[in-house]
């Protein structure tokens, strides 16, 4: 292992991308209208693409001869470092949209900062991903507004999702020792900086969407340390089925 902390840092974000990409892929063929089915599949595809770039780099740092697929398919839940937000079930379209918006308002500003990383490889992955997340954040933000300021039913539904997901909003900008060390070493970003930009964006969109901000700022945590919700086990059972049932094959 070249650098354990850098490996852990990359895995945190790679796991976020993979698990959210997997969740979005569940929508494929079942969207509310064809254009949005395509949009969700497209975002899922971008996220899987980002996960691949990050796992490829992580596996090189690891120096154990492992591949991107070993990292995605052969680790158990406690090794996954994604936040609890991304493993939350899709729910209705509004819940998927708000989960996505909470994630996009992180990833967009995260990659924007990561583009300045002292690690060139990370900076280049960030530059490519940032372009994608700009579009994702516009898409999910526009839908929060459309649903919030649409009909009475859509307003009530998305408000319900805002309330449900609010306690999963902040884990993604909580700072652990991996983040601290990464920032200190120069290849990581300042989550404090991202937090402010992100909160402003969320506030502006909720206002335009005529949605109210929940009062409690309690944040569920654990994902970044490998303590997940019950959902992750099922996500992995689905994701990893073939690799687990028929180990050692090429696909």
């Amino acid at each position: 292992m070249q650098d354990q902390n850098k490996f852990n840092y990359i895995i945190q974000q790679a796991d976020n991308c993979l698990i959210l990409g997997q969740r979005l892929a569940e929508w494929c063929g079942h969207g509310p209208v064809l254009e949005q089915d395509i949009a969700m599949t497209n975002i899922s595809l971008d996220l899987i693409g980002q996960a691949r770039l990050l796992y490829q780099y992580a596996s090189e740092i690891q120096e154990e001869g492992k591949t991107e697929d070993d990292l995605a398919y052969l680790r158990d839940a406690w090794d996954f470092k994604n936040v609890l937000l991304v493993e939350q079930p899709n729910g209705d379209f509004g819940k998927t949209i708000f989960r996505q918006f909470l994630y996009d308002t992180f990833s967009c500003f995260f990659y924007e900062e990561l583009m300045k990383s002292t690690d060139e490889r990370l900076a280049s992955i960030a530059a490519k991903s940032h372009k994608e997340t700009l579009y994702h954040m516009k898409w999910s933000g526009d839908w929060v507004i459309r649903l919030g300021d649409g009909t009475e039913e859509s307003h009530n539904r998305i408000q319900q999702s805002v309330n449900e997901l609010w306690s999963y909003k902040d884990e993604i900008i909580s700072i652990n020792s991996v983040d601290q060390e990464a920032e200190k070493a120069g290849y990581g970003v300042s989550l404090e900086l991202i937090k402010n930009k992100r909160n402003e964006k969320i506030k502006a969109v909720l206002e335009e969407a005529t949605l109210s901000t929940p009062e409690s700022d309690y944040a569920h945590k654990g994902g970044k340390e490998g303590t997940h919700s019950e959902y992750l086990g099922y996500i992995l059972a689905d994701l990893q089925f073939l690799q687990r049932a028929y180990p050692g094959n090429q696909w």
Binding site: L18, Q22, A25, E26, C28, G29, H30, G31, P32, V33, L34, E35, Q36, D37, I38, T41, N42, S44, L45, I48, G49, A51, R52, Y55, E68, D69, A72, Y73, D92, F93, G94, I145, R146, L147, D149, G150, T151, E153, S154, R157, D238, L239, F241, L242, Q243, Y246, G248, N249, Q250, W251
Partner: protein, 312 residues
């Protein structure tokens, strides 16, 4: 201008292979036939997303997962262009969808078969998309302009999917014993339904003659089926897999493969609703549509509010 003269001009255009465009006069029956054919094709793309989407979350590698997502997304895109081509004939996408949801409109019966293993993702690409290409390449020269142009794009993407499916089959057939078994099992299940995709025999096909006259069909069902068998047998040989037909053999005299009798009872059963997944497929489409109603209503309501605010 009287109808007889208009019809004469229309027929002259068809004879000279001049494309018919949306604003041109066309016989009612030509319009109706096109709406039926194009919307059936669009519905097939949309319903066809379901059996493959069934394996996206379980794709065995990240590369395969990305390819599967991209493929199903392409199919949704084909649905979009085909519904748009249909709208140039004066029908609305929502009305076409409501015919699909009520069971009135048909879609390709192949999608009423289940995807039971990962190898089905290979077999569908190789056989189902392969058969679709045989059917669709001639439609790039169809007499109706918007349809022909949509088909050019569809065919390009389908041939990419076909190669991708074949590559999945190749990987499995060169893999472990259980992977070979998976590939053979998929071929066994998809072979005959793929041959049925070309529709009933020429003697039984009620639309063929008129559609050929109008240039919206260029080859008969049996001609296309034969072309497909001839192209596919050597590909199966290369995979080292066995096509499940004991009567399949090369006929030197005809210069074609002879093949066994198709089980038309099964075909007509699946078409009339008794396939293994007819109910599941339609239920899934209906559920997505009904559960999405509030989203579509919200989008319309918001667009109206926005337009009003702009005007004010």
């Amino acid at each position: 201008m009287d109808t007889a003269l208009l019809e004469q001009r229309f027929n002259e255009k068809i004879d000279r292979d001049v494309r018919i465009e949306p604003k041109d006069w066309m016989p009612d029956h030509y319009r109706k036939t096109l709406i039926r054919q194009i919307s059936q094709h669009a519905h097939s793309e949309i319903v066809g997303m379901l059996p493959e989407a069934n394996w996206i979350t379980r794709a065995p590698s990240l590369r395969r997962k990305a390819a599967a997502l991209a493929k199903v997304q392409d199919e949704a895109g084909h649905g979009l262009y085909l519904y748009s081509a249909c709208e140039t004939l004066g029908v609305e996408r929502d009305d076409l969808l409501s015919d699909l949801h009520s069971g009135k409109a048909k879609y390709s019966s192949i999608f009423n078969y289940p995807t039971l293993s990962w190898a089905d993702m290979g077999a569908i690409g190789w056989l189902v998309d392969g058969a679709a290409i045989m059917n669709q390449v001639p439609l790039c020269r169809a007499s109706y302009g918007p349809y022909a142009r949509a088909m050019v794009r569809v065919c390009k993407e389908e041939s990419f999917h076909q190669r991708q499916g074949y590559e999945i089959m190749l990987t499995l057939s060169k893999g472990s014993e259980v992977q070979k078994k998976m590939a053979q099992d998929a071929l066994n299940r998809w072979w005959w339904p793929s041959l049925m995709m070309f529709g009933p025999t020429d003697a039984e096909s009620k639309h063929t003659e008129q559609s050929m006259r109008w240039g919206i069909k260029r080859f008969t069902n049996d001609e296309l089926r034969q072309k497909f068998v001839d192209a596919t047998v050597p590909q199966a040989d290369l995979l080292g897999l066995t096509i499940p037909d004991k009567d399949l053999k090369w006929n030197e005299e005809r210069g074609h493969y002879d093949f066994g009798a198709i089980n038309w009872d099964e075909f007509f059963n699946v078409i009339s609703g008794n396939g293994p997944c007819n109910k599941q497929r339609l239920d899934a489409r209906n559920k997505a549509w009904e559960e999405g109603a509030w989203v579509r209503e919200a989008a319309n309501a918001y667009a109206e509010k926005k337009a009003k605010r702009k005007a004010a």
